[in-house]
Symmetry: D2
Subunit: 422 residues, 4 copies
């Protein structure tokens, strides 16, 4: 990669970093990406409802929140034409380059940021080099700014290369809430893909290390459980109340007591709980925001069904009602070994790469799995590639940052691998 | 009371004490009482199914147990004619004396013993005076031997007295399991009663103290809850099991967590629990023998309905099934103040009585309440009379015993009170 | 009471109603009362730290909140001299009138309001007659505006009357948070009182009904329990976390499962719960705002000790730490029958009173009990008097209002009773 | 193997099958084995306390039980000299054959039976061929009769072979209660072993299949937790009691709620629970017989420490005391790949073997792991070999039986592998 391109990518990454936007509100980001795609030149550019199955979107924020970010994007200079196409939270983009017959190869990157306040201390590079978040309280603390940038760099390389086939480049919204992958999958825009690569930087791998096929995705379901009882004065009429907090407590304890499963790892967490209105009032409502996971999709579903039972009966036990709503979901997936082998072979020859792993576990969840499963179910192949980067703070912390050398490496590994797939 | 009668009553009481029989198995006891009733002379003597509504009986032991006690009674000298009438657990007796027009007045005593092994140590009078239980493992540890004896003494006094009206003397079976009161009430044999007295000795009142109207009966429901799941190897197939012990645990904790009630005292107890078969097997069954109580019948019913809910949902929460069976039940009741006043007035004049209380709380449950409620619902009056007795050990302990001076006092107080009711 | 005085009291009550202030922030209210006391004329007027044992105050809001209300009072016209004496939340006042030898007689009224938004609908008299709360979000929804007004009316009557002895009139702050009674009691300012009357309007008694001696105060302790664990990623490192929400859940369930007590009624409530930060993070902290009560102070203490145990061990069970802080507390108390008899006799002769009850239960908690217990422990007598008032909405609801005829009745009953105590 | 030897082994296996004895009570079995060892001829024969570290034995039954089986063994014809050496539950035997310099190679088989009543239905071979259990209620339902027999067969082959080194053949007692492995390990008798093979038949592998190195041993700790409270009448004095069943319930629920671990599989089971004495008595004692497991020893220890905490605090929460006693324990272990390779190579050439697996998971626990870990810690190698056998009923069920062709295969595979280790 020449110095000029390298500098342009670094500039782009920093610009994206300064404009972090949360899931389904990536208006400015989409606008900025569209401008890049038009600059590089693509055959087709999809933005808006055709990219996303509206009913399959999960964890979409309310209208007021979306409108607020829409306004902020406009104020920050987003293009009116893009804002209009994204209205209602239809963010993200799909660029297509067609060059005659040949396989369809796709790369998926994600673009949303996190509700984390970025560090402003010395030693945190974005603060020192003046590209710290403009949107106080939000931050690219997981490297999606780098992902989008690598996507643009790969597009440049592909467009300049000689190949016969189709390239699809997806900038997926709403990964952090595990909310966007399903909507893209169910829109069908990737149904013709023969080879899919997805990408993540970091994951505790240092700069120079590449994982050809990440595995160990935990299938996940996040849910919100609401308990409804009836309030009453706790001193004067204790039995006139129906106590939603007692229901919550029975649910939390017994959620964790769902039996372990012989087929593999499972997880459960009641991450956020709240309930009641005053010390002396029998609580009439309570809420759990929780999640279950499984090493396989079937294990997640086992946990999920048992969790629904526990919640329903915890409510019934205390004469309350409960409802459970899925707020986010992602299946498990496996990287194809053969496709990973291609990445492995390419990575070994890339400048700056000093360690290549065939496989390593993610230990968390990702909604790229929806896309991987979709492609694999239709006979295609998919692999999730890890591009190591030195990151001073952990993922999802205020001091997270990427080593910008990773941008080169990421572009070279992925563009190189794609070149072998046509 | 003359010396001869006193000695006869003491002898009878000791004979009954030596032959304790559990609830619904009072075969020998019924036979012995029938003989006494015939000796004294009554106008009608009811023994068998007409005395007890068969379907209303609770906590009846299985046939093998009943047959065993039937045989033991025969071996101990019970009369064949009585044994035949009692067959199937229809124990107890009702004697009637009719003397022309006038109110119907009734006295209820109870006759069953407890599954407690009687002390054989020095200092325990029945052991020293050689009338300790012949039925090892069973014992008159609550004074029902004295109750039955006082009943006979009162009958003698009534028969010798001059009155116009009807006297009904009930020897009720199965009080200790709270199983007989309802069956007698629902048979209707006391439906014509104008005044009902019931009797208990002791209750922490010393010899010489009389309570004219005991109150504070807690309505009670005893139940057996069975949880059924599915066993599996706990190491190899933990999720293949459905764990009845987890259901039990959720039930126990949440039974105690049933909300307190503004209308008065409630109780709950999971008195006996068991479940599972081996350390390394997911338990497929579990069982709670528990109870709920209330200061009023309505409060007991509140607890009972909530308990049923808790048990059902504790099972559902762990993918198990539950069934709940009522094993014993008794309502609350109140002693009539006016009737208690009669007892009070009489008791003050009885030899050996040095303290008379208008009322005192029982603090427990009694199935005489079925009879009291039945009589009161039909416009009659009822009072539960406490006859104090020094008892070295507590009720239901191996060293319980009654002070035999209580027999005289009991007969005098009750016969005296009855005499004022015609 | 003459028409002019009646109108003045109504005006005062409405003025107080328009300026509701929460516990420990009654700056404007205190200022307004002081002006009235000076107008009527008293021998001694105590405002500030001498009235309140600083360490015994409970549920004092933070400095920012107090400062805010201090500023608002100034803007609403409160006197600088009073504001200065009250600084730091030392609100309330004690007026003393001395007339030679004779008993010391006291009346306690309370002056704080509630964090409730007052109704602005037609039919709500304060909205219609234009004296609805100026402090949006706060409201005199429990009649303390009437209490303070009756206090002033009684003072007028006492000052005009002929008696020999001492009169102490207490305007107590912070009753709604059960936070002020103890501080006044422990300051010792009522230690010389021979007869104490306290006052509440309404309590479901209609206008014209008077309760000479309210009873049935539930002793109460309100507490805040904090659970501290350690966060971790719920998918990647579930066992690295120590889950404060699991601790909370175990505590809630087992708080309700504290055994019922044979000595009388108890209560427990986990009124407000919260915990955790995100669906996929093991919760590192959680909090219960709860309360326990008892029919007697001993029963409340039983519940309180058991609750502390439950919370501590619920934390330990899940490898967390817990701390429990008492936020408010009040003992039980009993109205003296003899003193209530005086009130009863007077009330029967008061215009507008058509029903007098010797006693009626409160069914809740009150921190007047600290004052009653303090006076009684030193050999004095105390009674809590209920003055009925028709109230359209219930206590502590947005449509609560008092029937202003109650002001007359309250003054007449209390001033009349006081007159008999010298 | 010649026909005569084959028949002798079948006869021996059936004889052992007819005399099942539970853990630490294998008196007759030890006697019978000693006779065989003497028949074949060994250089050293160890029986009694030197074989077993007395303090390291776990789950030893009480003296009465041991004495009973001691007597039964004598009646069944056990030798007095062996009975004497085994007295007190020091069952099992270690035979040593020494042939000059060379490595020490060991084989471990186990000899105890289970408390299961053997099927007497047609179709169950032992019932049909008349070698069903003589000890009603006990059964060789896990194939240890075959293990011991194979041990004897291997000894015959070794003795007849030409090798230079030492052979140690261990007949280990008390495997079923996971109680004997540690005692043998800590006695030190295998401390000089260079190569250890252990053996199990069946495990869902059919006749003809051999697993060269079984893995996936779950480390396990079995425990008995006792809760002690205080009894009281549940109606009259509910708060005077301290409820051990409430403690039990809190423990069971929260044991299952111990957080899952990122490092691998864990297990927990409250297999048998009991508590309380009567429906109307606050339970004063309760008991859990439970277990925890882990994919590694560290994971089992994590579960074990958390379980101890849960139990202690569940008791404290309900004002009870708890004690926890370990009743059985076994670590995890791994079969050496290199040693398994030897077995694999031999097995491929054995008559009747049609499938050889390098590795397969056990999915349960085994106390051979103590011996494997001991040998490996001292620099030796160990592998656990699975010899498939068709078994009509599952392990630990009344219709379990082994296919006797397995005896040949087991002897050939193991003797063959041993031959390659000298």
């Amino acid at each position: 990669m020449d110095q000029q391109r390298r500098e342009r990518l670094v500039t782009l990454r920093r610009e994206l970093h300064r404009h972090p936007e949360p899931a389904w509100c990536e208006y400015w980001t989409t606008s900025r990406i569209v401008t890049e795609l038009e600059r590089v030149g693509v055959d087709e550019l999809l933005v808006g409802p055709d990219l996303l199955d509206a009913d399959a979107r999960m964890a979409v924020p309310d209208e007021a929140t979306r409108d607020d970010w829409h306004d902020r994007a406009r104020e920050a200079g987003a293009r009116e034409d893009v804002l209009e196409r994204c209205e209602g939270g239809f963010t993200g983009a799909l660029a297509t380059v067609e060059r005659g017959d040949g396989p369809t190869v796709a790369l998926r990157v994600d673009v949303d940021a996190l509700p984390i306040t970025e560090s402003d201390e010395g030693g945190h590079a974005p603060a020192e080099a003046d590209f710290r978040s403009d949107n106080e309280g939000f931050m690219h603390a997981c490297g999606h700014d780098a992902h989008a940038t690598i996507g643009v760099g790969v597009l440049e390389a592909v467009v300049e290369s000689d190949f016969s086939g189709t390239f699809k480049l997806l900038f997926q919204p709403a990964e952090e809430v595990i909310g966007g992958g399903r909507a893209v999958a169910e829109s069908g825009v990737l149904d013709d893909v023969d080879h899919l690569l997805a990408l993540h930087v970091g994951l505790d791998h240092p700069t120079g290390e590449v994982v050809a096929g990440v595995n160990g995705f935990l299938a996940v379901r996040q849910f919100a459980a609401e308990f409804r009882g009836e309030s009453a004065h706790a001193g004067g009429h204790p039995a006139a109340g129906r106590d939603a907090v007692q229901a919550l407590a029975a649910a939390v304890t017994n959620l964790h007591a769902i039996r372990r499963h012989e087929d593999g790892a499972t997880r459960v967490n009641a991450g956020v709980v709240s309930g009641g209105t005053a010390t002396n009032i029998v609580p009439e409502s309570a809420r759990i925001e929780g999640e279950v996971r499984g090493e396989t999709t079937a294990l997640m579903e086992y946990m999920s069904e048992r969790a629904d039972d526990v919640i329903e009966h915890a409510a019934g036990m205390h004469d309350c009602e409960a409802s459970v709503r899925t707020t986010a979901q992602a299946p498990s997936a496996e990287s194809d070994a053969a496709l990973a082998d291609v990445v492995y072979a390419v990575a070994e020859g890339v400048d700056g790469v000093d360690s290549v792993l065939h496989s390593a576990p993610l230990g968390g969840s990702e909604d790229a799995t929806y896309l991987m499963d979709r492609v694999q179910e239709r006979g295609g192949r998919a692999s999730f590639v890890g591009i190591g980067t030195d990151h001073p703070g952990g993922h999802h912390t205020p001091t997270f940052d990427v080593d910008e050398r990773t941008l080169d490496i990421g572009v070279d590994v992925l563009a190189g691998a794609l070149a072998r797939l046509w």
